[in-house]
C-alpha cells in the first residue's frame, strides 16, 4: 500500500467512481435522447461520467499527495446505529410505537462503549411514553401504539 500516499482521498475517489458507475448502469435503461431533446437518461449519464472522472482524478492524485492514514473503521457503532434504525422502520407498522421504541433505544445504546443495560432499558421506557405523548397524542401522527390496536396503516395515504 506504499504506493497510495493519501488513503483517505484514494478511497473517497473509489466511492465516487462506484456511485458514477452505478448511476450509468442503473440508468442504462432510460431513453437517452439527444442533446437538443434530452431523454430521461441523458442527464444521469452525464453526471455519472463526471463522477467517474472526478473520482479517478481524486484517486490518482492520492498517489502523489501525502496524507494521513485512514482512521481505523469502527464497524460496531456504524452497524448498530444504522441497523437499529432500519429495524425500527421495519417493525413499527406491526409492533407499534411502544415496542419498537424500546427495541430501538436498547439496541442502539449498545453501540456505545459505555453501554449499561439497566439504564438503557429505563430510558427506553420513559422515551416510549414520551414518544407516544408527543407524536401520537400531541402531533397526531398516524402511528400504531400497540401491536393489537388495529386500524390505521401509517403508510397507506
Amino acid at each position: 500500500m506504499a504506493i497510495i500516499r493519501h488513503p483517505k482521498d484514494f478511497f473517497a475517489g473509489l466511492i465516487f467512481i462506484a456511485f458514477g458507475i452505478a448511476a450509468i448502469v442503473i440508468g442504462s435503461n432510460y431513453a437517452l435522447g439527444s442533446a437538443a431533446r434530452m431523454g430521461p437518461g441523458y442527464f444521469p449519464r452525464i453526471l455519472g461520467i463526471l463522477l467517474i472522472l472526478l473520482g479517478a482524478a481524486l484517486a490518482i492524485r492520492a498517489l502523489r499527495l501525502k496524507g494521513g492514514p485512514l482512521p481505523r473503521w469502527k464497524w460496531r457503532p456504524t452497524l448498530i446505529v444504522i441497523g437499529s434504525v432500519v429495524l425500527f422502520g421495519l417493525i413499527v407498522t406491526h409492533a407499534g410505537l411502544v415496542l419498537s421504541t424500546i427495541v430501538l433505544i436498547v439496541l442502539s445504546s449498545a453501540a456505545s462503549p459505555e453501554f449499561r443495560p439497566k439504564e438503557a432499558f429505563i430510558s427506553a421506557v420513559l422515551l416510549a411514553a414520551l414518544a407516544v405523548g408527543v407524536f401520537v397524542i400531541g402531533l397526531k401522527l398516524q402511528l400504531q401504539i400497540w401491536p393489537w390496536t388495529s386500524g390505521i396503516l401509517p403508510w397507506s395515504s
Partner: protein, 420 residues
C-alpha cells in the same frame, strides 16, 4: 416612509400572542439544540418540519427561523464552558472563549457573546428590511436565464467556499445533483432510480438526506471518538464586562456584524463561514495577534456577532430570490412549499404580512434570547451533564418518528438545490 410602514406591519404580525409563543418556542428549542452536541439546526428543523403542517405559515416560519438563530446563541455556551462547540458556527469561539473561561472570565465571555449576538441581530434585521425590497424588485425582472446563472453561482459558491479539498467539493456537488434526479422525470414521466419503491418516485426528501448525511454521520463519529468533556467548574460569577473589556470588544462586534452580514448573503455561506471569517479578520487587525488563542475577548466578540448576523442575512437570498444558500435555508423552502408558498420575489408582494412578520420576529427573537439566555445558562450547563450514551438513542428515536411522518405525507423538495 415605506420602511416604517413595513416594519409596523411586521410587528403587527409578529407581536400577536400566537406568534410570540412560537418565536419563544423556536428560540428555546434552538438554544437547546445549540447547547447539545450531536444535534444541530439542520436535523432539528428537519425533525420539526412535519409538525408545522398544522400551524399558520407565518407561525411555522417564525418558529423555524428562531431555531436557526437560537442555535447560534446556544452553541457559544458550550464552546466557552466546555471547549466543545455545540454548533459548527461557534467552533472558533472555543479558541479564545474557553481560554477566557479557564482564566476565570467565563462570565465576561458569555456576556459578550450574548450582547454581541444581540447587537448583530438588531443591525442585521434592519439590513434585511432595507435590502430586501430593492433586491426583490430586481429579482422580479429575472427570467430563466438569470435564475439558471444564479443556480450555477450557488453551486460554484458551494465549491469555492467549502473548506477542504476542491476536487471533493465538486464531486459532492455532482453527487448531490445525482441524488436530486431520483424520482419522476418532469419531462418524460419516467421514474428514475426508484427501484420500484413507490416512496422513491416522489424523489428523495431533503429531510431524509440531511438526517443521513449530517445526523447519523455525526452520531457515529461521536461514538467512535472517546467522550471527553472538561467543564469549567468554577462558578460563573458575574455575567458582566469590565469597562476595559467593553472597550476592547465593541470594535470587534462592529466588524463582526459587518462581515457577517455580507458573508451571510453569499451562497454556501451563513453562520459558519461568517464566524471563521470574522476570527481571521480580528486576528489580522489586532495590534498584538499573539494574544489570540490565549483568551482575547475580540476572538469571542467578533465571531459570535458574525455568526448571528450571518444566520439572519442568509434569509435574504431565500426571501428575495427564492434560492436557498445552505441546508437550513433549503429546509425553509420545504417549510414554505408545505404551505403552498413559492419562495421568491413574489412573496413580498403577495404575502407581505408573512414576509415582514418573519423579518421583525427575528428582532423579537433576538431580544428574547438575550433576556432568556443569561439567566438560563445554569440550566443549560446542567443539561450538558447528561451523558452522551443516554442522549443519542433519544435523538435517534426522534428522527425515526419524525421521518416516518414525512414519509406518510410525502412532501419533497429539491435536494440538489442545496448544492451539497
Amino acid at each position: 416612509m415605506d420602511l416604517l410602514n413595513h416594519l409596523a406591519l411586521g410587528f403587527g404580525v409578529a407581536m400577536t400572542p400566537v406568534n410570540l409563543v412560537y418565536a419563544l418556542v423556536g428560540v428555546i428549542v434552538g438554544t437547546l439544540i445549540g447547547v447539545l452536541p450531536g444535534i444541530g439546526p439542520v436535523a432539528t428543523i428537519a425533525m420539526l418540519l412535519p409538525t408545522t403542517y398544522a400551524l399558520q405559515p407565518v407561525s411555522a416560519l417564525i418558529m423555524l427561523a428562531g431555531i436557526y438563530y437560537g442555535a447560534q446563541y446556544g452553541g457559544s455556551t458550550t464552546s466557552i464552558l466546555l471547549n466543545m462547540p455545540g454548533e459548527t458556527s461557534s467552533a472558533v469561539t472555543c479558541l479564545d472563549g474557553h481560554q477566557m473561561a479557564l482564566r476565570g472570565q467565563a462570565g465576561a465571555a458569555l456576556a459578550i457573546a450574548a450582547l454581541g449576538s444581540f447587537f448583530a441581530g438588531c443591525i442585521s434585521t434592519i439590513f434585511v428590511a432595507t435590502v430586501a425590497v430593492p433586491l426583490s424588485e430586481l429579482a422580479l425582472k429575472f427570467g430563466p436565464a438569470e435564475y439558471c446563472s444564479l443556480m450555477i453561482l450557488g453551486l460554484i459558491g458551494a465549491v469555492v467556499l467549502a473548506h477542504g479539498s476542491l476536487l471533493k467539493a465538486i464531486a459532492m456537488v455532482v453527487l448531490g445533483l445525482l441524488l436530486g434526479i431520483v424520482g419522476t422525470d418532469v419531462n418524460s414521466g419516467t421514474a428514475r432510480f426508484a427501484f420500484g419503491v413507490p416512496e422513491l418516485i416522489d424523489g428523495l426528501g431533503i429531510v431524509s438526506v440531511a438526517m443521513g448525511l449530517f445526523g447519523f454521520a455525526e452520531i457515529i463519529i461521536n461514538l467512535e471518538t472517546d467522550e471527553k468533556r472538561e467543564l469549567v467548574t468554577s462558578k460563573v460569577s458575574t455575567l458582566w464586562l469590565t469597562k476595559e473589556q467593553f472597550q476592547q470588544a465593541w470594535p470587534a462586534v462592529l466588524r463582526g456584524t459587518g462581515l457577517g452580514s455580507i458573508l451571510g448573503l453569499l451562497p454556501g455561506g451563513g453562520a459558519m463561514l461568517a464566524s471563521f471569517g470574522s476570527y481571521a479578520l480580528e486576528k489580522k487587525v489586532a495590534k498584538d495577534p499573539s494574544r489570540f488563542g490565549k483568551g482575547a475577548i475580540q476572538g469571542v466578540a467578533g465571531p459570535e456577532s458574525a455568526n448571528n448576523a450571518g444566520a439572519q442575512t442568509s434569509f435574504i437570498p431565500l426571501l428575495t430570490l427564492g434560492i436557498p444558500e445552505n441546508a437550513v435555508m433549503a429546509l425553509m423552502v420545504g417549510a414554505m412549499t408545505i404551505h403552498n408558498i413559492q419562495p421568491g420575489p413574489q412573496v413580498m408582494t403577495s404575502n407581505p404580512a408573512l414576509f415582514w412578520g418573519l423579518v421583525t420576529s427575528m428582532w423579537i427573537g433576538n431580544l428574547m434570547l438575550v433576556v432568556l439566555n443569561l439567566p438560563l445558562i445554569g440550566m443549560w450547563i446542567k443539561l450538558l451533564q447528561v451523558p452522551y450514551r443516554v442522549l443519542y438513542p433519544a435523538i435517534l428515536l426522534f428522527w425515526c418518528c419524525s421521518s416516518s411522518s414525512n414519509a406518510s405525507r410525502r412532501h419533497c423538495c429539491s435536494v440538489s438545490s442545496s448544492g451539497r
